[in-house]
């Protein structure tokens, strides 16, 4: 479990104070994968640096499994850091060490006996599927393989928490999928708590149980994927499940509404239900339907006939648990 409370970080730039984190509070329960998204400059990197105490937070606290990292001695901090595995955007492997020596590094630090190191390293190599590259150097690996080594190294001390800072931002889509699948598999196997920092929405869609939107150092939206994706007033819904960019706007030929709904209702024939019940034409203008995890989510833009009873239809849709936004002419 990761607990962040009221974390603030102010950088001094010349005579100006830059507030990079402005009171961030967050809790990620054990075994969950949480995503933090935000635009460039939102404070994502600052958050990870403060989480690992690479940067000293200005105020606020950070704890892993209830054990505080802030305000502890250097020794305690080092021990606490061993409970955290960290994966970097560019893997940050040591070029002078072979794959297995890289993975062995965190174990060497605490003087683990050679035999135990060898055993653990070969287990981890197998876990990330790189056994045949054990003796190779990082420069001989592809980006995805390097990231796998980075993940294996992060797991060497059996941490409770895995922090991933833009883990797939330097990878192609195919490799991104493989890495995210690996992270999910590890979570399932090891019940580890994962925090993924990213600016890519598909990472959130593919891997995360919950998500926070960071903006100007504040969390402005937060919740389980299912909740944020079906919240039409939130900003994450439209980025997680966007309508096609060329979706038609209101054109006067009848009222236009946007619908957001999840799994259970998606299986119901919502559109034909309205058509039958209100005896009106329903025209689907645009839509996107996606499977996230084992659930289905739909975001549709539909138009009714000009004489349709919009009030009654909206009422009906809302009672069916569908989020409705009536589009106004601009």
């Amino acid at each position: 479990m990761i607990t962040i409370s009221d974390l603030r970080k102010v950088y001094r730039q010349g005579n100006n104070d830059v507030v990079a984190l402005d009171g961030v509070s967050l809790e990620v329960p054990t075994g969950k994968i949480h995503g933090i998204v935000g635009h460039s400059g939102a404070g994502k990197s600052t958050l990870v640096r403060c989480l690992t105490l690479l940067d000293q937070p200005t105020s606020g606290t950070v704890a892993v499994n209830g054990k505080e990292l802030t305000n502890v001695s250097d020794d305690e901090l080092r021990n606490a850091r061993r409970r955290i595995g960290m994966v970097f955007q560019h893997a940050n492997l040591f070029d002078s060490r072979t794959t297995e020596q890289n993975i062995a590094y965190p174990l060497e630090l605490v003087g683990t006996p050679k035999k135990d190191v060898a055993k653990k390293v070969s287990e981890l190599l197998e876990l990330v599927g790189l056994t045949q590259f054990a003796k190779g150097y990082p420069s001989q690996l592809s980006g995805g393989q390097r990231q796998r080594v980075g993940i294996a190294r992060a797991l060497a001390t059996d941490p409770d928490v895995l922090l991933c800072d833009e883990p797939t931002s330097a990878l192609d889509p195919q490799t991104t999928n493989e890495i995210l699948e690996l992270v999910k598999e590890l979570r399932n196997r090891l019940n580890i708590t994962v925090l993924i920092i990213t600016h890519e929405m598909h990472v959130v869609k593919q891997a995360c149980d919950s998500v926070s939107l960071l903006e100007a150092g504040k969390i402005v939206e937060h919740g389980d994927i299912e909740a944020v994706i079906t919240n039409p007033s939130g900003r994450l819904a439209s980025t997680l499940l966007p309508l096609p960019g060329d979706a038609p706007q209101v054109d006067g030929a009848g009222p236009v509404v946007d619908l957001l709904y999840t799994g259970d209702q998606a299986t119901e024939p919502v559109i034909s239900g309205i058509a039958r019940k209100f005896n009106t034409d329903v025209n689907v203008l645009a839509g996107s339907v996606e499977h996230l995890g084992d659930q289905q989510f739909a975001h549709l833009r539909v138009q009714f006939a000009p004489d349709a009873d919009l009030g009654a239809i909206v009422e009906y849709l809302k009672s069916a648990g569908i989020a409705v936004t009536v589009k106004e002419a601009k």
Binding site: L54, R81, R82, M86, F94, S96, Y105, V110, Y137, T157
Partner: protein, 226 residues
């Protein structure tokens, strides 16, 4: 043919050349060893007390960097050699000979090497240091297990440059009492106009420099896994 038979019978070559070469090697080896022993930690300290280092201490960095390094480097080496003769005498008990000259050579080269070490360490990406810290390394572990090994190709290149410079300096040191090939070239080549000795001395120094450079390049390439 005549020129070569003359060379082979030249007492300056048959008798003086070998001991002079040994003296030069002696100076270079002693000075190299001490330059590494003193210059490497100094370079590490320079890097880590600087901005973004593991232990930023501004005043110490300014003192090390500004006073020690820059001032020592701005004094011409020939003048430094002479100025350091009393220091060499205090340390080795003698003011002449290759051992005494090694003291001045070391003091003259340490700042140069330390700067090169600092530059090599700066090339290690901060992400690697962050990774090492997050895995729970102590600062000392970061230096020993990450900074130095990761900078090793650069450090070897720095050492190569330093040894080549030392060979050049050692010839100068020869003039102010150090002996060696510099002294030989001066005594025979300059004072007696013995062009043969001058030439052979230059060739020997050239070969030394080439060997150091080639070995340095091979080692640097061999350990570079980037």
């Amino acid at each position: 043919m005549d020129f070569f038979t003359e060379l082979l019978n030249n007492p300056g070559i048959t008798r003086a050349m070998w001991p002079a070469t040994v003296e030069t090697l002696q100076m270079v080896l002693i000075a190299t060893a001490f330059t590494i022993v003193i210059g490497l930690p100094l370079g590490i300290l320079l890097h880590n007390t600087g901005k973004g280092g593991l232990l930023p201490i501004r005043w110490l960095n300014v003192v090390l960097s500004g006073i020690i390094v820059n001032i020592t480097r701005s004094i011409p080496f020939a003048i430094l050699m002479v100025a350091l003769i009393p220091v060499a005498k205090a340390i080795t008990g003698e003011s002449l000979g290759p051992v005494a000259a090694s003291v001045s050579l070391t003091i003259g080269t340490v700042p140069f090497f330390a700067r090169l070490v600092e530059t090599a360490l700066r090339d290690v990406s901060s992400g690697k240091v962050d990774a090492a810290l997050v895995m729970g390394s102590t600062k000392m572990q970061v230096i020993r297990k990450v900074l130095v090994p990761e900078a090793m190709p650069g450090l070897i290149a720095a050492l190569t440059t330093t040894v080549v410079t030392l060979i050049g300096y050692s010839a100068m040191a020869g003039l102010v009492g150090g002996g060696g090939l510099g002294r030989l070239a001066y005594n025979y080549g300059f004072q007696r106009y013995d062009m043969g000795i001058m030439l052979v001395t230059m060739v020997i120094i050239l070969i030394m420099v080439q060997i150091v450079q080639i070995v340095g390049d091979i080692v640097a390439r061999k350990i570079d896994h980037r």
